[in-house]
Structure formats: C-alpha cells, structure tokens
Symmetry: D2
Subunit: 368 residues, 4 copies
C-alpha cells in the first residue's frame, strides 16, 4: 500500500486540531509528521526539540516557520499558542511523565507514545495529572486503530472462532546499538518488553477484551554483552486469562524481526503475521469455510491515531486507548519482571468486565 504524504489539504486549519510534536527522532520524522499530512482532523502546529537547527529544517520542510520551533526549556511557551490544542510526546520513556504533567498544567491534551511511562506508578501519576487538569490523555497504541487488528478482535468477539482456547504472540527484533537509550534502564524502564513485547501484551488483551489473572515469566540477560548490561535481552511470558485461556508471548532484542499473533479457537483461528509493522499487516481468519484474508482501504496508522485523538478533543469523550489502558500494561509488565525475578507466578486482579480500561470513543476505521 503506497502511502506517501498527500499535498496539504486546502481546508482551513482552524477546524483541525493543532499538535505540538515533542521530540524529533526517527519516529517523528519518518512516521508521525508525514502522517499528519494525511490527517483529516489534525495538523502539526509546532515542534519541540533540543536541536534547534534540526527543528528549523523540519519546520521549513513541513510548512511551518522558525517561530513554530521550541526548545525543551521553552516548552511552557506553548501555553500562549491557542492553535496548539494537544501535544504528542515522542520522547524517551522516562521523560513521558514530566512532559505529560507540564503539558497538562498548560491545559494541553496529551497523546503519549507507548509505553506510557517506565513503571505503573509513574503511569498512574500521569493519569491523575491529566484528570486534575481536565485534559485528555491517550496512549499511542497504534495497533488498536487498524482495521486488521479490529477484524482479528471481531473474529474473536463475534464467536466466529468458537470458544478461544490459546493465544500466542511474538515481537522480536535486533537492537544492535549499545548506546541506544532503549538499552538504558533509567530511560527505557526495561529492554524489549516495554518497547516491543508490549505490542503482544497489549494486543492479546485487546482481542480478548479481557484482563489476565496471573502471569509467569522468565528472562535472559547476557550481561557480558555490552548491550544488555542494564536491561534484558529476551523475555518469555505466559498470561492466564479467565476461563483457562492462556497466552504465550515472547519478545527479544536479540532475534531477527518477528511479529506474530495467533488466536486458536474451537472452530477457527486467527493468524497475523506480520502483526505489528507500520504497513503490510497480514491477517488470515481460518474457519471451516476456509481461509480469508480480508481487504481494507489504504491508511496510515499514525494518521488514524492523530485523527482519533482530535475527534476525542472535539467530542470530549475518553479516547479508546486512554491513559488507564497504558497504566494496565505497566501493571502487568511490573508483574512480568517480578515473576522473572522470583521464579513465581504473580497474581493480577483480572476482571470479568469487558474492556475495563478502554475509553468510550471507539476508533473510526478507514473507509475506501
């Protein structure tokens, strides 16, 4: 699906939600800012970066002026920018809390990259801060906004697969830069688990619409490897859901890119492989009739997120992946690390309620 930026929409920006993009790394540059150009309800109104020159280059390239570029120190100057209604935080995990709290104080709505923080405590504090300030907080779980992941969830929820028995998900990739912040415990809060393993955790919960009751995990951290002095290389974890449903998950920074999701039921199964890239998701739904790979219109995952949150800002409704959804993954990840440390099963609160941590505004799926 070719999805390159369209030319700027001629519609008045005044009706769209202006975002300040906070942090100008690869994700912002290659995915988020280009995606904003495909958005119906959102646009990039400002950039916040520690590298002024880079910011100005971006500004010129994306139809902004130098006045739209802010340093981290000047972050609070955004308060005067009425056209900036939301910030999109794309910073190292450990900075999410601080910038969320600073944004909330200015009355800006916060879209925050996953993981929401580096642990459940910080994540909860972010939710509290946004509630107090009366702003919305959304965790940027792009895979809860694609038609493929929704079709997988619908196959499960509709009963088309019969009772679900087992799930299996893998998200692995090679991280080979020993200096990457993603390998520093202080900045990242963990290794592959909060970075890529979180996709498996999050999507397993999403397709089941339920919460795990217990977790068991084991990890491998080869400390002699310069990359893994502070964080794990791999984690394998098992999640126990209500009714004896079990999900096996694996994540690693030491194995070639693999992203899968498999849901096995009495009467059918779902396979996504690849399950988590920005583009090219492949979904197969197997039932007694055969194997179906549904077709969907082209879309941009980041564009869908930006639009969803913009619509929430207009409607005042809680986003589908609200802050609490991000907190819950931290609660479980904290338990995963605890289990790996103790070698024991860790109990979780579970829940019989459907989607207990998700908001009221359901995502709009792309239409042709």
């Amino acid at each position: 699906m070719p999805l390159k930026p369209k030319i700027p929409s001629p519609q008045p920006q005044s009706r769209r939600v202006g975002y300040a993009i906070v942090g100008l790394g690869k994700l912002s540059a290659e995915e988020i800012i280009p995606a904003a150009r495909t958005s119906e309800h959102a646009y990039v109104a400002a950039l916040v970066t520690g590298e002024e020159e880079k910011g100005e280059g971006f500004a010129r390239a994306f139809d902004l002026t130098e006045d739209d570029v802010y340093s981290y120190e000047d972050f609070e100057k955004l308060q005067g920018r009425e056209d900036v209604e939301a910030v999109y935080i794309v910073l190292p995990n450990s900075m999410h809390r601080e910038y969320t709290e600073r944004a909330a104080k200015m009355g800006k709505h916060v879209l925050c990259e996953k993981p929401l923080a580096t642990n459940a405590e910080d994540a909860k504090a972010m939710v509290v801060a946004c509630k107090k300030a009366g702003v919305l907080l959304m965790t940027a779980y792009r895979c809860q906004y694609t038609p493929e992941h929704w079709a997988a969830r619908d196959a499960v929820q509709s009963g088309k697969l019969g009772a679900v028995k087992l799930l299996d998900s893998i998200h692995a990739q090679v991280e080979d830069d020993p200096t990457a912040w993603r390998l520093k415990a202080e900045y990242a809060g963990g290794g592959p688990l909060p970075d890529v393993g979180i996709y498996s955790l999050n999507i397993v919960r999403f397709v089941l619409a339920q919460e795990p009751e217990w977790v068991f995990a084991a990890l491998h951290q080869p400390k002699k490897d310069a990359r893994f002095k502070e964080v794990e290389e791999s984690v394998s974890f098992m999640l126990g859901f209500p009714d004896g449903v079990i999900a096996n998950c694996q994540t690693s920074y030491g194995a070639q890119k693999t992203t899968t999701l498999r849901v096995m039921g009495e009467e059918g199964s779902v396979l996504m492989d690849p399950a988590f890239p920005y583009q090219g998701l492949k979904l197969t739904i197997k039932t007694k009739e055969g194997s179906l790979t549904p077709s969907f219109p082209a879309y941009d995952q980041f564009g869908l997120e930006l639009d969803h949150f913009a619509e929430c800002i207009r409607s005042g409704k809680q986003p589908w992946t609200m802050g609490e959804e991000g907190v819950q993954d931290h609660v479980i990840m904290d338990a995963i690390y605890e289990s790996a440390r103790t070698g024991q099963v860790v109990k979780l609160s579970g829940s019989r309620k459907k989607d207990p941590f998700r908001g009221e505004q359901k995502p709009k799926l792309p239409t042709a």
Copy 2:
C-alpha cells in the same frame, strides 16, 4: 506430493525385515501398512489384532494369508515366526509396556509408537527389558526422520541463524469423541500433551540437540465437558534450555488443527507451518539473503521409519530415536504435569552434551 503405495517390490523378501504390526487401528490401516509397501528394507509379515475378521480382511488386502493374522492371546506364537524380526506396536499407550516386554522376551526388536508409555517409569522399564533381551527399541518419532525437520535442525546447528534465542511451537487439534481412549487417563497417560504436544517437545529438543534445564506449565481442564473428565484440554509450557534459550509451547484438544515450529536467532529464523502432518510440511528458512523454502524428494514418513529401524536391525546400531529418547520426553512430561499441579517451576537435569539421548545410527534422508 502424491504418495500412494507402489506395487509390491519384486526383490526377495528374505533380505528385508519382516514386521508384525500389533494393533489395527486407523494409523495402522491408513498409514503404516500402506507405507510398508513403499519400503526398501521392510515388509509386513504378520498382523496382531483383537478383531479377527478385520485382520483377515487386511491380510487379504495386503498380500498376506489368514495364517499371518494373530490374536493378542496368540502373540507369543510369533516366536516361531523367524521371518518376523520386529514388531511395530500401535496400541493404546498403556499397552506399550506390556507388549514391548512380551516381544523382547521372544527376541523380537521393538518399534513402538509415541509416546513410549504413559509415564517415565514404564518407559524406563521398557528400555531395561529390551536391553536385557538384547533387542533394539525405537520410539516412532517420525518427525526426526523427515528432510524438512533435518533442514530445520541443520539451519540451527550450522549457525546459519546465528545464536538461537527463542523457540515457539504449537500442536493443537480438536478431539471430539468423548469415548476415545485418548481421553482416558488410564489408557493415554494424559490428554493432548502425550498425544500431540509431545511433537512440540520432541522437535524443540531435536533442533537444539540439547536438553531443557527447567519447565513451567499451566493447564486447563474443564471437567464439566464430558471429554475432559480425566485429562486436560490444553497445556501451555515453557522450557528453559542452556544459555537462556527459552521455548514456549502449547497443545490442546480444544482448538482447530495448528502445528507450528518457530526458531528465532540473531541472524535468521526458521518457520515450519504446518510442522507435524504426515504430508505437506512447509519449511521456511529466513536469513539476510531472503526466505528459502527448500525442495525435497517425495517420501513417506512411516516408510522412512520402517526402513531406518530395519537398517538398525541389520547393522546392530542403536536407532536415532532409541528408547532413551522416548524416556526423556516422559521425564519432561512428568515434570510438566508436576509444574501445572504445583504452580512452580520444576528443575530438570539438563545436559551440556549434544543429543544425549539419541542413537548412533543417523537417519538416511530420502533422495530423488
């Protein structure tokens, strides 16, 4: 790959090894006996069954006489049959030990269907009995004889994938006959684990050529379901191998047919899907160069097994999947059930030796 029986070979049977097939269920009828017709070194010389009429029908169909059909009571009459050098035991698991011991006493070599027994203790007794009697014992692990599984193992062992980090394997299928002996603890020794989950366990050990050091498992047994009064419906288990390598496995009698094996390494990966059917195995080896699905000549898995054991009988060498290999899976399955019962990790002896439980005669792979 069409693989129907060839016409009977004109070579003198005297040079081939005559087998008595013990038990005439679906597997014997549809796979093993037809496979014998494709064999170079083996042929079916006698049938042992509790249903005389059925046995005679088979005998007529497969070029034997009524005199080649024996009841279980007459099993010992095979002793006088010099042309019967081996028995192939295709009975319910709980009968494996008895018939192995009776065959050994007669000096017949024993090829025994997997699982070797219903627990490690019985399996060990079978090894002892055969040793004592000076006959060979082979566990019929057909997946250790296919070119696809060997290519997967070779990809791992050659280093082509870099260091292996994680493995994942699933073997599930729906068992819907509540009266099946496979659902009776006494006959089967367990539910899907010793029947189909054993493939995942066995093949993960085979491709790594190593032994697990610990296991954690959880199972689900919905006793209200008439099928699962005695045995589990599903088991999820995690195997810890040397060097932090972890395998996640799942098996079930409650989910649609799924058979997979995935090996993830630093520089490549292996995917088999399907991984365990009698025909149509699909292997993909991914490295930086791309994805390769190797081609192999047509073959019959049961024919390969029959030939391998026949060659061992001629050479006197221990078969590749000798009795000890079958015992080891029982040791691990016993630990899996213990872990599921206690909720605790169970330690295993592990081993730094390569292929510690396999024989000296390597399988011959089929050639075009």
Copy 3:
C-alpha cells in the same frame, strides 16, 4: 491431505460397479487402482495388461486372483464377466479408439483417459461406436470433478467476479525420456498439448461454460533435441470466446512443472496455483472483501471419477464429461495445430449455449 487407500469396504461388491482396468502403467498402479479402494460405488474387478507377471503381482496385491488378469488378446473374454460393467482405458492415446470400440461391442461402458484419442476424427468415431452399442462413454477429465475447480467455476458463473475479461492458464512439465510413447506422434497424437496443455484448454472452457470462437497458436519444436523429433516442445495458444473474452494458454515439455489458472473479472479474480496436480490444489478467490481460500473435505480425484461414472451407469444418465466433451477438445487442438502450422487465426464454431458438450449428470462433490 493424506489420502491413502482405506481398508476394503465390507459392503457387498454386488452393488458396486466392477471395472476392468485396461493398461497397467504408472497412472493405473499409483493412482487409479489405489483410488478404487476409496470408492463408494466402484471396485476393480479385472486387469488387462500385456505383461502377465506384472498383472499377477497387481492381482495379488489388490485382492484379485490370477483369473482376473487378461492379456490384450483375451480382451474379449471380459464379455463373459458380468461383474465387469465398465472398462477404464489407461492406454497410449492411439489405442483409445480401438479398445473403446472393442469394449462397446461387448456392451461394456467406457471410461477413457484423456485425451479421448489422437485427433477429432477418431474421437468422434468413439462417440458414435458407444452410442450405437448403447453404452456410456466418459472422458476422464478429473479436474471437472474437484470441489476446487467447481468453486472456481461457481465464482465465475455466479457473477461474483463481475464480467470476466481475461483468462490465463499454464501447464508445463519436463519430459526427459526420449523413448517415452508420449513423444511419439503416432502414439500420442502430439506433444505436451494433448497430454498436459489439454488441462488448460479444458478447464478454461469449463469455468466459462462456453466455447471458443477462434484460436491462434504458435509452437516450438527443436528437432535437434532427440525428444522433439516428432512432437512439439511447447505451444502457446490464444482462445477467443464470446463477448471478447480471451484466454492465453501455454504448455511445454521443456519447462519445470507449472500449473496455473487465472480468471480476471471486473470485480474479482480467481487464481489456482497449482491448478492441476492430483493433490494439493490451491484456490484463491479475490473480491473486494478480500482473498478467500475455501476449505474442502479430503478426496481422491480418481475415486471421484470412478464413482461418478458408476452412478451414471446406475442412473443411465450421460456423464458430465461425456464423449462429446472429449471430442470438442480434439476439435480445438486440431485447430491449434493448424494455426501453428499456417500462422493464421483458425475460426471455430463457438456456441452461445451453456455447456454444450457436457452431460446431464452433474458431479457430486465430496462432503466431509
């Protein structure tokens, strides 16, 4: 899908149709005779062969006696065999006419391997002979009996693909034995065209349910190659159907096994790849909703043919692929060779009628 012969059915043979298999080559030995064991309505009652010893081996293997084996000279002795109601002719193409006429004279129904003869004239004579004798004649087009090919046809005929515009089909394989009768013009009537290209021709007509109005063809015959002294190596042909629909087809004895069918419509498409093997057909139906690979129960193509013709014998109805269907392919193949020889388009009679050359008894598709 493993499909090995089942054990002989305990039902009385008296209700089933007894076939004499005429010709004991690879196809008879590996496919047809084993398939008869899976049949509901048919069984093998006699064998006709030029190699007595081979025949007796077969007889023993397949539960017949030496008295059930006939030489070609003794063919007419089948007349006295009331249990032999039909013959299945599996001889070199050039012998089809003679044996059909001899069988018809004996009042035996005739199932004849494709191609029906070596040219349209002989094929027509066979139809006439069977009509005159009051016996049924069926061309053994196995691909008109599979659920996959019917699902492809249904996708076309139901309008699910919108108006069909183009078709494309390939059937190629390497024939490397220069002494094979398939490479002798006298025996085969041509090269790859009547042997494998006929599948493309036949299936394109089948899925459209229409007849071509013109044909253009080009062939390649490298006479320096010992294999192609008498027959072509490759043929490319274009078939013009009503309403401007065009099918491109290719066949070869010089290229690696390739068997495909593609039907392209305004709103969807059908792809079969592989399209023509005995097992493992893969069908994909693409519409705006996505790509569907339907599932079907296991079956044996030759078993389905044997059953269909047996049912026609019982019902007295014309088989779906009656003699006329085989004649029509010869009419078109004769035109293909003429076009290749002259370099000109050759007009055909065409037809606006649906399925003008097919019988009244539709095949029963396998059920689970």
Copy 4:
C-alpha cells in the same frame, strides 16, 4: 517497507542535479516529488503546471518559493535557471514530444514518463531532438531499476533457470472514470496497452535481454461502454523471441488489479506477483533446491530513477533506459495494434544482440 520522505539532506544542493517537474498530477504529487526527498543526487528545483495555485501550494509544502513555479507558457523561462539541469516530464502522453523538444532546445536533459510518446514516430523524433541538442533522454521505466526485477533478470541471464522456454505476464486494472485523458486516443495513444500493458512488454524484453521477432495480438473494445469509445478495453498479445521462446501477455482496463511476471525454464522458474506496483514487489525464484524469495534493502523506485539519471548527467553516459528503449516499445506496440487490426502476425526486426536498445550506464541497486 515503510518509505516515507526523510528530512531534507543538509548537503549542499549545488552538488545534486536540480529537476523541474513538468506536470503536477497524482503521480508527481504522491510519488515523484516525495521521492526526490529520498534522493542522493537529485532534488526538485522547479515546478511547471497549468494550475498556479496548486503549484504554489506544492512549492510551500516542498521547500520551494513561488518563484520556482512556472506556467506551461513560461516553460522557456527555465532556460535562465542554471540550477535546473533536467526536466522530468509527467504530462499526458501526447504532450511528451512537444515538451521534450522544447526542453532539449533549452539544453535541459529530459527524463520522460512512459510511454515515451503516443507512437513510434513521435518517440523517434524525441530521440533525434535530444541527440541534436546534446542532451540526454531517459524513459522512466522504473521497473528496470529495482533489485527485484534485476534479480529476476539475473536468474534468467545466469542460466540458473536453464534455457528459458516460456514467459507470461499480466498487467490489468480497472479504469472507471470515462473522462480520464487515459481513455482519449488523442492524448493517450491507446488504452491499457501503452499505460499498463507496456510494463509486461518492457519487462519481458528486459529479463530476456532480447527483442521479439514477431507479434500476434487480439483486442476487445466494447464501444457501447462510455469508457471505451476511443480505446481498447483489453489486449492479449503473444511475442515470439529468438530460439522459439514465446511470451504471452495480457492487459486490461476492465479487470481487477493484477500484475504478474512468470519465466519458465528447463531447470527453474521465476514468479513475480505482484510484479509492477510501486512497493511490495514479491519475487520467487524456484530451482531444484527450492523456492527463494530474496531480501533487499528498502528503496523508493522513483528515487532510484531520479538518482540514476542524475548520475548519467554527471557522467555523460547514456542512461540504461535511454530514449531508444522507449522507442522500441512503441515500435512493438504499433505492431500489436496492427496485428489486432489485421488478425495477422506482424514481423519485427528482432535482434541477436544483447540489450540492443539500452544504455551504457547500468543502474546502481540500493544497498542496506
């Protein structure tokens, strides 16, 4: 492969080749201009359009000023723009000749979209004009610049497939806007053939490195359909190459998107499906060892073209797909239309020389 524009390169533009993009339709907006941002050796220096406002929007969006936007009338003002060394003509086919000649007169090098013109005569005139003016002319055949198409060609040229016997290629899509210029004979020079069928024609010639000796074609033009009053809906054509190699091709504006290439040889085959999209090409090379899908680094097809021509401008060498390559496709397409009109085979000059119409500068393939 996500491939969104990178941020502008900080390298001095003075070393890169500045292009004027002539024509601002969908292809320029969504593919070419964004691709220029990924280019090492090229950048967009000016825009030429009939819609001033649209041009200024683009200019702002892509870091140009209003002064960089020219109307068609002002095209010659580019002469004074020394930084504009080349023009990229992305206009309706019938305007290619005029703008190429006008650009050549100004001494600007010309990269021209395919098809080069609307017939061979105009295409030849363009080659002459550029030669006379001493500027380079490149036909924008993006599929001769991808690693997948080169790997397909290499498989053929290396002999890895054995002698090639047959080829088959399809390029179809639905054109449903009856007002599109692509459906006007005057502007387009034909229907799907010069627009999408040309890919099949061009790539078949590319992988063989040879030229056809004859062509046969049939077309369908349902004039009652408002879309096909002037041009054909579908064309099927057969190309005869040296040594009896035949390619079957089909193209249509009336069938769902299909893009394939198949090359069948004695010892292997190549399949590309899809074969011609901007992204997501899938190549499979089958040999006796198995099926290989090679991996390649991410790239942008238009970026590769822009870079290749920029390098030719710097080196003075003829581009790989020089004007003559574009002329040759027109010669063949003229013959295809003649064959379809007359119902006769049309002879072509053919050539025993390898790549007789390609330039001396080979494309650089993307590296990781």
